[in-house]
């Protein structure tokens, strides 16, 4: 056991921090919650690309840095800590690149990975459909063979990065006859969203933001080379990719800027004659959050250790994700509670403390335990795959 980073790792962390602090100072961005999933900044993504920080762990032969998962952990931890607008490249860096490396053709690796690393391919994730949420295998969008092409028809919902993507990575049914069991007959595709027949409608969420989208496919003609991996085996591939989708610190630190801000606020603000931080109840609440956060950090670090051993982070990622999103929700609701009546004030309001982050995050965090595997699905994974209870 060893709970410290190496000197090089610490150096790298400092490099990332210096970069981010300089960018904040330069006005490129302001730290905000959910910036990894909602923060659209081609400019920032280009800068991250120039640092070589997209595809950090990918093999050098494809232009990656061949660095460790721990380095990527450090990178993402700092991005999240500073609430940096990394959404343009986050998804591709996290799971699409890896998926292509694992299942893609040599040509796909040579063409798509460089675009991602250059910070030019913004890849959205087209998985959920109206009838296919937790039960992804119920998806109905179909890809019909037609010569050298597939014709895509159907609809996706909650496409992350949907409103600003220029590529979509999606799954569709390629063989309607292989519907039993229903997770057979599904394939994965990646293609540009500029193709005719694609309509993207932003989804307005409970906070008012429009980071997700509905995507409609109406006879969209894509070349067969857009398929990733094996035909009709897409579900098995995507299940593996989902492990990566839920493996990272974004499931713990999505609203970290709120945590930093509320601590600072109670230290610096007096209500009545006393600093808020001197209230024993406030102290207990924040210390409890700090404790819960630390547990989440350790559970998520463990996931990275598993990846570093070259294993797929299945049960460990499920455990970390369902725990950590619970923390994030607790952080948001306790922050509102600590702020009392001020907890109602949204960003734009006069008197709003900490930029209205608390109520905004209270609303936004409702989705955390649903995205990328609901808490219920993940507990099932822990119980059956982790503990061997009968499925």
């Amino acid at each position: 056991m060893d709970f410290k980073f190496t000197e090089e790792q610490e150096k790298f962390r400092k490099e990332v921090r210096d970069f981010l602090e300089a960018e904040i100072k330069a006005g490129t961005f302001q730290p905000s919650c959910d910036a990894w999933i909602q923060g659209y900044s081609p400019e920032f993504t280009k800068k991250v690309s120039k640092k070589g920080w997209i595809g950090l762990t990918w093999p050098k032969e494809y232009g990656g840095q061949g660095r460790s998962h721990i380095d990527r952990l450090i990178l993402t931890e700092e991005m999240l800590r500073y609430g940096a607008p990394a959404a343009c490249h986050w998804f591709a860096d996290r799971q699409i690149g890896g998926g292509i490396l694992r299942y893609g053709s040599e040509e796909q690796k040579r063409t798509i990975l460089p675009k991602i690393m250059a910070g030019e391919a913004y890849v959205g994730l087209g998985l959920s459909e109206p009838e296919a949420g937790s039960d992804l295998a119920s998806l109905r969008t179909k890809a019909t063979e037609s010569g050298d092409y597939y014709i895509i028809d159907g609809q996706k919902m909650w496409t992350s990065c949907g409103v600003f993507m220029n590529h979509i990575y999606m799954v569709a049914r390629t063989d309607p006859n292989l519907a039993t069991p229903k997770h057979r007959g599904i394939s994965e595709f990646i293609f540009e969203t500029s193709l005719p027949g694609i309509t993207i409608t932003p989804t307005i969420d409970i906070t008012g933001s429009t980071a997700w989208a509905e995507v409609f496919f109406d006879g969209v003609k894509i070349p067969k080379t857009a398929m990733i991996g094996e035909k009709n085996r897409g579900f098995y591939q995507v299940v593996n990719q989902l492990d990566y989708e839920r493996a990272g610190l974004e499931r713990l630190m999505g609203n970290y800027p709120l945590f930093d801000a509320i601590i600072k606020f109670v230290k610096e603000t007096k209500w009545g004659n006393n600093y808020i931080s001197k209230d024993p109840l406030v102290r207990q609440k924040l210390a409890q959050l700090r404790t819960e956060f630390e547990i989440g950090r350790l559970l998520t670090y463990r996931v990275v250790m598993v990846m570093e051993e070259g294993k797929a982070p299945n049960v460990e990622a499920a455990m970390a994700k369902q725990y950590s999103t619970g923390f994030e929700q607790h952080l948001a609701s306790l922050s509102m509670e600590i702020l009392g009546e001020y907890g109602q004030l949204m960003a734009e309001s006069k008197y709003a403390p900490i930029l209205g982050m608390a109520p905004h995050s209270f609303l936004g965090s409702k989705g955390y335990s649903l995205q990328a595997g609901s808490t219920e699905v993940l507990r099932g994974v822990i119980a059956t795959r982790g503990l061997g209870l009968p499925a």
């Binding site: 949420g133 937790s134 989804t203 008012g208 009545g272 109602q344 309001s349 649903l370």
Partner: protein, 382 residues
């Protein structure tokens, strides 16, 4: 001992539910929330026509002399409908204190207008930077004697609906000396006419789209006759009003979570995943059972407090328990409602969001859970 509504209350409930289902659809709620007024004047007039504003007022003031328990029935339905507007402000923190503490002249002057839906009242209590668990002790808005009346200066915060109110019930410090010993002493409640010079208002932006305001008094003059209750005895009024206000908000939360439960159970029966309704999964069943337990528990707690208020019995403890449980039950129920609804429930187009936002706002209004628990501790003799 009887835990069911009386026949007339059931009728009132049904009438309110039908009326609001018809006149206050979510399209209207959305519109009103987005609107600067935060209230539909037409709907307000119709409600007045039904006698809602005067529900608990004597007939001589245009009311129907019903009880706080009846009012609770109505408030629950308002919560269920996510009705926006200054009803609690006007009735609970306006009409009731006037009825209890007002002179005959004051009652005659203000209550009929409230009954008719012509007069909007609100409460100006909290101040910026005060101790949130001691609104009263934190008051620094000052009312200085001046000729036949007082001059008021200072800032109030979180004043609901001040931008459309006709009158504010405002707590101000009238005896600085008395406050040295105890910050709750030396306070007086004034009825302020918002048309007077020296008041400015700014609407804050809130999670529940309630129109809470900052109100600034700059040498506002108020005649002596506008004191409600006794000079320097504002605390009495506050102690009477706060349990009522807390129970009223708890009714709103009760209506919210009852509706969340019903929406969620209906959805769990209809939404199919893994080839069966999600409501047949044991975990979803237990979530729903927990929600139902919270809703029923809150219902009885709220109605017990409302009943005590109706009977004029001391009820600080019951009101505190109702509000603590309302806040806690809301947190749990809304979390489970969202968890069962899945992604569809976190879109702006789904009705669930109205209740999530309304409940969160109500939970943060009229005292925090910690503050009300402290009241329970006090009542326990701790």
């Amino acid at each position: 001992m009887n835990f069911t509504l009386a026949e007339e209350q059931e009728m009132l409930k049904k009438m309110a539910r039908d009326f609001l289902a018809d006149k206050c659809p979510k399209t209207l709620v959305k519109e009103v929330q987005a609107d600067a007024k935060g209230c539909s004047p037409e709907l307000w007039q119709e409600m007045a026509g039904l006698g809602w504003m005067g529900l608990v007022l004597p007939e001589k003031f245009g009311g129907s002399a019903m009880s706080f328990l009846d009012l609770a029935v109505l408030l629950e339905e308002m919560g269920r409908a996510a009705l926006p507007g200054p009803f609690i402000s006007t009735v609970v923190t306006g009409a009731l204190p006037i009825l209890e503490f007002g002179t005959d002249e004051q009652k005659q002057k203000y209550l009929p207008g409230i009954s008719e839906g012509k007069t909007i009242f609100t409460l100006a209590l909290t101040e910026p930077g005060g101790n949130p668990n001691d609104d009263l002790g934190s008051i620094s808005v000052k009312a200085s004697p001046d000729r036949d009346g007082y001059v008021i200066n200072g800032i109030k915060l979180f004043v609901p609906d001040a931008h459309i109110a006709d009158f504010l019930l405002c707590f101000a410090r009238t005896d600085e000396q008395a406050a040295v010993k105890n910050g709750h002493n030396g306070l007086t409640a004034f009825i302020l006419d918002v048309k007077s010079p020296g008041i400015s208002k700014a609407v804050l932006k809130t999670i529940g789209s309630d129109k809470l305001c900052e109100v600034v008094f700059d040498n506002l003059r108020v005649p002596k006759e506008n004191i409600l209750g006794k000079l320097n005895q504002g605390r009495d009024l506050y102690q009477k009003m706060m349990p009522q206000a807390a129970v009223a908000k708890s009714c709103i939360i009760l209506g919210s979570i009852q509706q969340m439960l019903e929406m969620t159970v209906a959805y769990a029966k209809e939404r199919v995943q893994y080839d069966k309704p999600i409501g047949s999964f044991q975990v979803i069943q237990h979530y729903c059972a927990n929600m139902a337990t919270d809703v029923d528990g809150l219902r009885f707690a709220v109605y017990q407090a409302a009943w005590k208020l109706s009977e004029g019995l001391p009820c600080l403890q019951e009101a505190a328990i109702a509000k603590v449980w309302a806040n806690e039950a809301f947190g749990r129920v809304s979390t489970l409602a969202h968890q069962i609804h899945g992604a569809i429930g976190v879109t702006i187009d789904h009705d669930l969001q109205f209740y999530t936002k309304q409940g969160a706002a109500a939970a943060l209004s009229f005292g925090s859970s910690d503050g009300w628990r402290e009241a329970v501790a006090w009542e326990m003799g701790l």
